[in-house]
Symmetry: C2
Subunit: 349 residues, 2 copies
Amino acid sequence: MTAKKVRTIEELGEFGLIDHLTSGFTPSQKSTHLGVGDDAAVIDHGSYLQVVTTDMLLEGVHFDLVYTPLKHLGYKAVVVNLSDVYAMNAAPRQITVSVGISGKFTVEAMEEFYEGVKLACERFNVDLVGGDTSGSMTGLVISVTALGTVLKEEIGLRSGAKNNQLICVTGDLGASYMGLKILEREKKLHAEDPAFQPELVGYDYVLERFLKPELRVDVLLELKEAGVKPGAMIDISDGLSSELLHICKASECGCQVYDDRIPIADETKQVAEEFQMEPLVAALHGGEDYELLFTVPISDYDKVNAIAGVSVIGNITDQIGKALLVGNDGNAIGLQAQGWNAYSSEQDD
Amino acid sequence: MTAKKVRTIEELGEFGLIDHLTSGFTPSQKSTHLGVGDDAAVIDHGSYLQVVTTDMLLEGVHFDLVYTPLKHLGYKAVVVNLSDVYAMNAAPRQITVSVGISGKFTVEAMEEFYEGVKLACERFNVDLVGGDTSGSMTGLVISVTALGTVLKEEIGLRSGAKNNQLICVTGDLGASYMGLKILEREKKLHAEDPAFQPELVGYDYVLERFLKPELRVDVLLELKEAGVKPGAMIDISDGLSSELLHICKASECGCQVYDDRIPIADETKQVAEEFQMEPLVAALHGGEDYELLFTVPISDYDKVNAIAGVSVIGNITDQIGKALLVGNDGNAIGLQAQGWNAYSSEQDD
């Protein structure tokens, strides 16, 4: 019998839990440049910095093997980590991949998974240097850690946004979420009627965005070539809304973004219509876009505007913590974080 | 219908699987000094090296919450990784801790786990710099990555053993395995009769060795003070036998160890007797000792002999791949790897 209040993790909330559990930890190593709280931790190596990021992917929570080919899963498990490295404006160098494998997997199945890992390694010029392989009593468990390097003056933190800076986003948003919705729908129909054949034709774009996300290395290179140094930078994994709030919190600023500036592909709009869903909701809260969100000085407007695949969607304000979405009518509503993974978050995401 | 042979993971075996899956990966980064195949990967930072190691711990495979307090689990999850760092003769600096938490856990339970993590961080002067927290559909999933640094000339690899070097081991072996046996016995008795009260008094030493393993930082410091540079070094996580074979393979040598030289505590012998088990079997194959196994030049015999907690158990030979256990009678038998986790191994362990 105890009077001590026992709280569930849901009550505390995802970010609350992380803050709570890690609050008692104070870095003591000189080389620890930045701990919990950005896309990656940062380690000081003198003339350059090293970023470290890790992601855990659990079957039934982060992926569904019913509609996720293992090769795609291996590729994506690496890519979501590299996305955090690039979001620090760093170049990925090494990864470790750990897997817990349940009895249902054959060697061939794991080969497929590692083919995807290898594809990502080759594509982004990253070395697999270690990991851990063990049996799992339950589903497939994947944990990837990525290391990268960046010159000190080039690091892209969440905390670098300044008043009046422009807010930019790469590519388009919400497609991945609509791809997931299609796959979930076809899975459900198939479960109800085993003779049902999933109809995936015509959904290539949104499916590809979900199953095989791209990383915007091209834009990072173009920014560098144009001599543009981002202020704050973050990758969009939990949805635009959530990431804007992260930047506002870390940079102690506010922001306003214009709803008609938020890039959404026509394919995404069409699928959203099928689901009678507002495309903007998918863009704001869908997540898994793995596009980059960053700020630049207003004087760089012409330069970023000239880069294909970059949209200027708003600007940073001095109203601390206030993230506003401004509509066509000039009315503004406050943005709130609503990651679509009800309880799934990252300390360094 | 396919004629392709589908192999199960058991058929290939644990180390076979790792070799097989990672064989197609060739490091291309200049900074990758060493990839898969030692206690940790090694990254070159110019004047010093950085080691990277990662371990995944899965409920039901690596730990049983019936008899493992969460605080101990948090401590041990960190310590098993630091063990790999120390086994490279490196000093640990940073860790990331990722957890997948199923619905049955309260915030207080996770606080206990993180108290253990914190204890290990404080004790070994390591910073928690990141991680990932998510829900889990199944059991508790833990993945820890540790980073450490070491001067280039001081790195301790598995491949550093030379013919005629002495083989040394710290502390005593087999105790952790006997602690596990006690806990498993009491769990079984309790399951058969819920009124049964586990009887753990008198087993303090072996239980402590299993639940809260120590790391031999003391010995590493004394070796350094004595000016002894180990040839090969590895931590004993899968049992002495398995680790000796790792050294022989990596160093392209053989070894012979003397059964009466292998250090086994009296408490371990007593518990082994209770289970009608040969204590030497626990020492050779038990695992989870987290002691250090290393080689030194024969000229350093007096120096290592003077260090408390170091036993010289044999020597390296030039008979490649031949690991022999020599008995009192002078007869020798070949050592074989028999990790007690039937299917559980590590690419960088």
